[in-house]
C-alpha cells in the first residue's frame, strides 16, 4: 500500500517527502522543491489574493495520475462509476486553499462501510479514509482540507460487499499546504487537543443526527516555514480520529497532512438514549487526545 496512511506518516517522520517519490509529478521531493512549494503555496490564506497556481497538466496527465493513484490505493480492484452512490461536494474555486470545505454524501441504498477522499495533486494524495461503525449515519460527512494546486479530487465509496464506486470533482485552489498554521508555532501548539462538540439540531431516539466535532490541532504538514528560524516546522498531524457512542463505533477516520489546521468534522450518528460520545485522537507524534461528551436525553 504505497499511499497507506500509516506508512506515509512514518515516511514523513523519517524523511519528509521521501514517501512521495513514487509520484514523479511532484517536484518537491527535496528541500529546494519544498521551498518552491512553500513559495507557490503562500496563496490561499493570505487576503491579498493572487490567481491560483495553474499547472500545465493537461487532461491526459490528470487521468494518468488518477490511474496511478487508483492502482496504488486499490490495486487491481474494479472501480465503478459512483453516480447514484456517492457525491462529492467541493467548491470549484476555493476561497481559502488552506481550508477547503468538502462534503461526502452517500445517495444510494447500498450499505457502505468506508469512504476514501483522494486529492490527486496533493503531496500526500490520500487525504482521508473513513470507516463506519454500527452507530454511524454515514450519509453525510464534512471535512476541511488543504489543497496544494489545481487538482481533481476523488471520493470513493466501498460497499459492505467490497465494491468500489468513485466520483470526482475538479477544484481550483493552490497554496493550502504551506499556508502557515498561525503566526507562531508555539502558540499553535498551546491549545492542542482541545475539542468542542455541537449537536446540529434536536434528535429523537433511534433517529440519526448530525454533529460537529472541532479539534484544536495545528496539523503541521512539514511544508510550513517558521518565519523566525526559517526552518520548516516539523510535521505533526492527526493520524486517526475514533468516535464511539456508548462504546460502539460511529466512525474511524485515518487522515494525513491534507486536513486543515484545527480540523472540523461534521458526521452523522444514531443515538438511542442519553449517553457518552467519546473521541480518541492520535497524532503523528503518537500523542493521544481523548474527550467524552454527554449526549443529552433524546427529545420525545
Amino acid at each position: 500500500m504505497g499511499v497507506a496512511l500509516g506508512s506515509s506518516a512514518r515516511a514523513w517522520r523519517l524523511g519528509g517527502m521521501l514517501g512521495m517519490y513514487r509520484y514523479k509529478e511532484f517536484a518537491m521531493a527535496n528541500r529546494k522543491g519544498l521551498m518552491l512549494a512553500a513559495a507557490i503555496c503562500a496563496l490561499g490564506s493570505f487576503a491579498v489574493i493572487f490567481p491560483a497556481h495553474a499547472t500545465d497538466d493537461d487532461g491526459a496527465a490528470r487521468a494518468e495520475r488518477w490511474k496511478a493513484l487508483q492502482q496504488a490505493i486499490f490495486g487491481d480492484r474494479k472501480v465503478h462509476d459512483g453516480g447514484g452512490v456517492i457525491e462529492l461536494d467541493a467548491p470549484s474555486r476555493a476561497l481559502d486553499a488552506a481550508l477547503v470545505p468538502i462534503g461526502l454524501h452517500l445517495t444510494g441504498d447500498m450499505p457502505i462501510k468506508a469512504v476514501y477522499l483522494v486529492i490527486d495533486n496533493n503531496p500526500s494524495p490520500l487525504a482521508a479514509h473513513i470507516t463506519f461503525g454500527p452507530k454511524a449515519d454515514p450519509r453525510s460527512m464534512k471535512l476541511r482540507v488543504r489543497v496544494n494546486e489545481y487538482t481533481f479530487m476523488h471520493a470513493i465509496a466501498e460497499t459492505q460487499d467490497g465494491k468500489l464506486y468513485v466520483t470526482e470533482k475538479f477544484v481550483k485552489a493552490a497554496g493550502g499546504c504551506s499556508a502557515p498554521a498561525g503566526s507562531d508555532d508555539q502558540e499553535a501548539l498551546k491549545d492542542i487537543g482541545r475539542m468542542k462538540l455541537k449537536l446540529l439540531g434536536d434528535f429523537a431516539a433511534g433517529k440519526p443526527i448530525q454533529a460537529q466535532l472541532m479539534i484544536r490541532h495545528p496539523n503541521f504538514n512539514g511544508m510550513q516555514m517558521n518565519q523566525i528560524t526559517r526552518y520548516y516546522t516539523p510535521p505533526r498531524f492527526i493520524r486517526s480520529t475514533e468516535v464511539t457512542y456508548e462504546d460502539s463505533e460511529v466512525f474511524h477516520l485515518e487522515s494525513d497532512i491534507s486536513l486543515s489546521t484545527d480540523p472540523v468534522i461534521i458526521f452523522g450518528f444514531v443515538p438511542h438514549a442519553k449517553g457518552k460520545l467519546k473521541v480518541a485522537i492520535r497524532d503523528s507524534e503518537d500523542a493521544t487526545f481523548g474527550r467524552s461528551f454527554d449526549v443529552p436525553e433524546p427529545a420525545t
Binding site: A42, A47, V48, I49, F50, L95, D96, R144, Q210, M214
Partner: protein, 316 residues
Amino acid sequence: MVGAPLLSRRDVLLGGGCLCCLPGFAASADSSTGAFATEEIAPGIHIRRGADEVATARNAGGIANIGFILGREAVAVADPGGSLSDGARLRETIRQVTKLPICYVILSHVHPDHIFGADAFEQDKPTFVGHTRLPYALAQRGEYYRGRLDQILGKGKAGPVVVPTMLVSDRAEIDLGGRVLSLTAHPTAHTDCDLSVSDRQTGTLLPADLLFVRHVPSLDGSITGWLKELAALKALPAKRAVPGHGPAQVSWPSGAADLERYLDVLLRETRQAVAKGMEIGEAVQVVAQSERGKWALFDEYHGHNVTKAFKELEWE
C-alpha cells in the same frame, strides 16, 4: 514562459481604488514612467489615489493610495507603492516638488500593493520603517508575492523585498524638521503588522489599509481586532484620514462609518452562522450579502473575508 497573462478580476486580487472616479488617472495609468498626479490633501501631504482595480500589467500595481509628507528638512514616503515603477514614479513626483532628502520610507504592512516600490528609494539610503512583526511577515510571504508580481506585472517589475531597518513595536516618532510624525504599531487587525501614521500638525491620519473606503475591505488579520483598532483610531483628534484604498482623503472620524458597518455586519452574521451550525461553505453564501453593491470589488474579496472571520469566530 508567461507572456502578458490575461488575468480576470476574480483571479487577481491585490486591492485597489476606483479608477473611473478620477478623471485623468486612467490616461496616466498606461504609462509606467514619469511623475504622476498627486493631490496635496493637507499642507505638505501629497497623495496619489490608487485605482480601484486589482494589480495588472496595465496599472503596474499602482492600486493603493500612496504619497509623501514634507518637513522642513526631510521627506517621508508613506507607502512606496506596488511595484518598482510605481515607486520610481512616486520618487520622480517628489523630486518635482522638493530637493529635500528622502529620509524615511514607511511600510504600512506586508501587502505587496503598498510596499513593492520600496527598492526605488534605496538610492536615497532612507530608514525603512515598519511594524515589529513586518520582517516575519515578509520572510513568510515576501518571495512568494514577488514571484506572483513577476508573473502579473512582468519580470523584475516588482523589485526586491525590502526589509524595514527601523521597527516599531508600540509607538515611535520621526522628525522631518518642524514636523513630527507619530507612528503606531497595531495589534492584529487588517493584518498582523499594521502601522499607522499621524501628523498632529495638520490633524491628518494615515491608517493605510486599516481604512478602506468604497473599495471592499480585505481581512487578513482579525475581525474583532480590526474593530477594536478602528474604534481607537476614531478617537484620535484627526480631521481627515487617507484610506489605503478609496478617495485620497475622507473626513474623520465620519469616513470610517462604511468600514465599521461592513465589519459589524460581517462579525454579527458570521457569529450567527457559527451559532446555527453552518459550515464555512454555506456561510460564505449568506453572510453580509446586504453589503453587496455598496463596495467595489465585492465579489473578489468578500468570500475570503467571511472564511477568515469564520475561522476566527468559531472557536469563541
